[in-house]
Symmetry: C2
Subunit: 416 residues, 2 copies
């Protein structure tokens, strides 16, 4: 990773520079819409659904006006937005700095992203993964040519192995989210989404051009026909785990007038950003087995600074496991878009979080908002889906929160 002292500042201009650097390596992913899901977002929930999910059902259910636009990072290289940050991090290093390879610790999408970026740049990648990682993730990482090194599942065990690799090889650490280069890389998705939604709605807000905007969805009329002619994006919802992507999106959209919100799972305290904001300080460790396994990590030091800045992120909202599953089912069955549970968290906020929905109803009024939602990734399998949606033996333990969907044991997650 580049030394933080040499990193560009967290500004929209830096995100634009990052985009120039990485755009030949990544996909400009499509923005899709779905009439049915937009309709559901515009329909009041029942009082019983509201109270079942543990929300205050004493208010009349919200009836916000929203058009939803899905930024399909599930169709990004390696199946998740993480490719953006990894390519950007590597593109900021000199050949000399890259000569001993790169190393990271991750059992998820960042591991595959770094492996792909390293292969593309012709350098060696070392990935430290807990030995209990699912075989498909290990295989996915190896398939891009990375050397996988196993560790225990606590953060201390993991970091010790990483230190060992660095000492032995001289590889450079590329952390998964808490670094400006990663944040700026992930933020590039917001620049594209802004342009694409402007092009789809025929609007020209801000300095975005429509060149290269994706136009089919507008032609489809999906969702769009319900707008009152509103142009461009009004708001974005981005899922938040370690906060790298949310910070990047907020950085990219600063001073555009587009409001940025974060979405978290609430299960077993995975809503660490929201809880941190209430306490006025970062929560440094999280221990959760939420099905949104990409969002089990707490905010890092740098991402906390961005996420807790209300000029940048206007609010954090959380959803239950059942709400995530329900949103995921709708995205698969109705929108026909294949996503992993973490990617459904932003959709769930738009459809089910009454605090968010009341806020939109009030702020957006009759005219409504065009809301962009980041679909973070699609790295799941039909087998995992079968487990997730079938009532299975493991559900009992799941409900007690001791075992994850893939049988993984609960462990402490700290930023790093």
């Amino acid at each position: 990773m580049a030394d933080i002292s040499t990193c560009p500042p967290l500004t929209r201009a830096s995100v634009q520079e990052a985009h120039t650097k990485i755009k030949s390596y990544i996909h400009r992913t499509p923005v899709l819409t779905c009439q049915t899901i937009t309709q559901i977002a515009n329909t009041a929930q029942t009082t019983s659904d509201i109270s079942t999910s543990g929300q205050d059902a004493s208010l009349p259910p919200a009836k916000p006006r929203m058009n939803l636009f899905f930024k399909c990072e599930n169709m990004q290289k390696i199946g998740a937005f993480k490719a953006r940050g990894a390519f950007h991090a590597l593109s900021r290093l000199s050949a000399a700095e890259l000569s001993n390879g790169v190393v990271t610790h991750s059992s998820g999408n960042h591991a595959q992203a770094l492996a792909l970026a390293a292969k593309t740049f012709g350098v060696k990648a070392y990935v430290v993964m807990p030995s209990i990682s699912t075989p498909s993730k290990i295989e996915g990482t190896k398939s891009h040519g990375a050397e996988v090194i196993f560790s225990g599942s606590t953060s201390e065990e993991r970091e010790e192995v990483v230190r060992g690799v660095i000492e032995r090889t001289g590889a450079r650490l590329v952390p998964p989210y808490d670094h400006p280069d990663i944040i700026l890389g992930q933020g590039t998705l917001a620049l594209e989404m802004q342009e694409q939604v402007e092009s789809m709605t025929g609007g020209y807000r801000g300095e975005g051009t429509t060149r290269g905007g994706c136009s089919f969805a507008a032609e489809n009329g999906v969702g769009i026909e319900e707008t009152s002619g509103r142009k461009g994006l009004d708001a974005v919802i981005a899922p938040c785990g370690g906060g790298g992507m949310l910070s990047g999106v907020a950085t990219a959209l600063q001073e555009t007038g587009i409001k940025v919100f974060g979405a978290e799972p609430s299960f077993q305290g995975a809503d660490d950003a929201q809880r941190g904001l209430k306490q006025g300080k970062r929560i440094e460790s999280v221990k959760t087995l939420t099905i949104a396994d990409g969002l089990r990590t707490p905010l890092g030091e740098i991402t906390w600074k961005v996420v807790s800045d209300t000029d940048k992120v206007k609010g954090m909202f959380s959803v239950t496991e059942e709400q995530i599953k329900s949103a995921m089912r709708l995205m698969l069955e109705r929108a026909k878009i294949f996503i992993e549970p973490s990617a459904a968290v932003g959709v769930a906020v738009a459809l089910y979080n009454e605090e968010f929905r009341h806020m939109v109803e009030k702020e957006a009024g009759e005219e409504g908002w065009n809301v962009g939602i980041v679909l973070t990734g699609g790295n799941t399998t039909v087998d995992a889906i079968a487990k997730l949606f079938a009532p299975s033996a493991v559900q009992g333990e799941r409900q007690e929160g001791k075992v994850g969907m893939n049988g993984e044991k609960i462990a402490e997650n700290v930023a790093g």
Copy 2:
């Protein structure tokens, strides 16, 4: 349905006219690409995979060069291309002809398509469905305001109920595929796909314009980067059940130089078109429980004429149940596109049918072909996927071919 005597001829110009009529009612669905799946298509199969699927493994495995383009009719209204034919059929009827409503028999996507078109045109729709239809399909049809009337599952029982509805109500029959209006409507997808792929590859073959072409996939570089600069479509693979859509695509692309191929499941004789071609006459009845449940019907009289015309359809190819499942898994897990089993049949031909692959290797040579594949629909559920991919109790009976994925019993399917 309009009297056949009043129908436009089966020509490209008639498909273009149909497109003008229906385009405000339907979605211009995206064309997506997937680098990984294109790579698999360009990799030789192993001899063992070839022989396991019952193909001749004595030849060296084919190594064709293809770029695959997926026309996403799973994202069409009601989740399948059937909306095109239904809207076209209704748009060709006068208000007087529509005054007593419309009727059809279908347990699948055509039922929902007709229900939606009728609702849009403000007329009543009656849908005759076997009483053993899955609840989700019954609900889906009712949700668009159609009156569902149950029948037995043989074609005689079904037709008797339809006749009863017509006598009682004066409703007009809109058959699912064997009618020029339906064929011309379905064919409109090929006009769009031709334009979209031209736009994506920077080509301008034929008279298609690039206006409205979907450009993101080309920008993504997905798949495209592997072409040797070849422009526009060279070939299309379309799944074939009753043959309405395949006939429409072949009609739309006549005299464009784009070759059209049909894809069928082979299970329990579902490859009736291919078998009919070998025998030199149409096979009138099929009895199969292939997982590609949209393709269980035989060709009709009109569609047989188109499909058996080698100027229009260059060849029919079939695939096994395991090949369909494997292609479906790849489309979900790798392309992140949610499709039903029937929609995977064309993909399976491109990836696994050695006869097709040898033909492409020979005809396309080093330059390769740009191959469009119609993803017919996405109307399945996470529950059905869990059943399809989990080894379950019902698999034993399934393998004997007596029970379908949803527990449905085997029954005779005849065209109508």
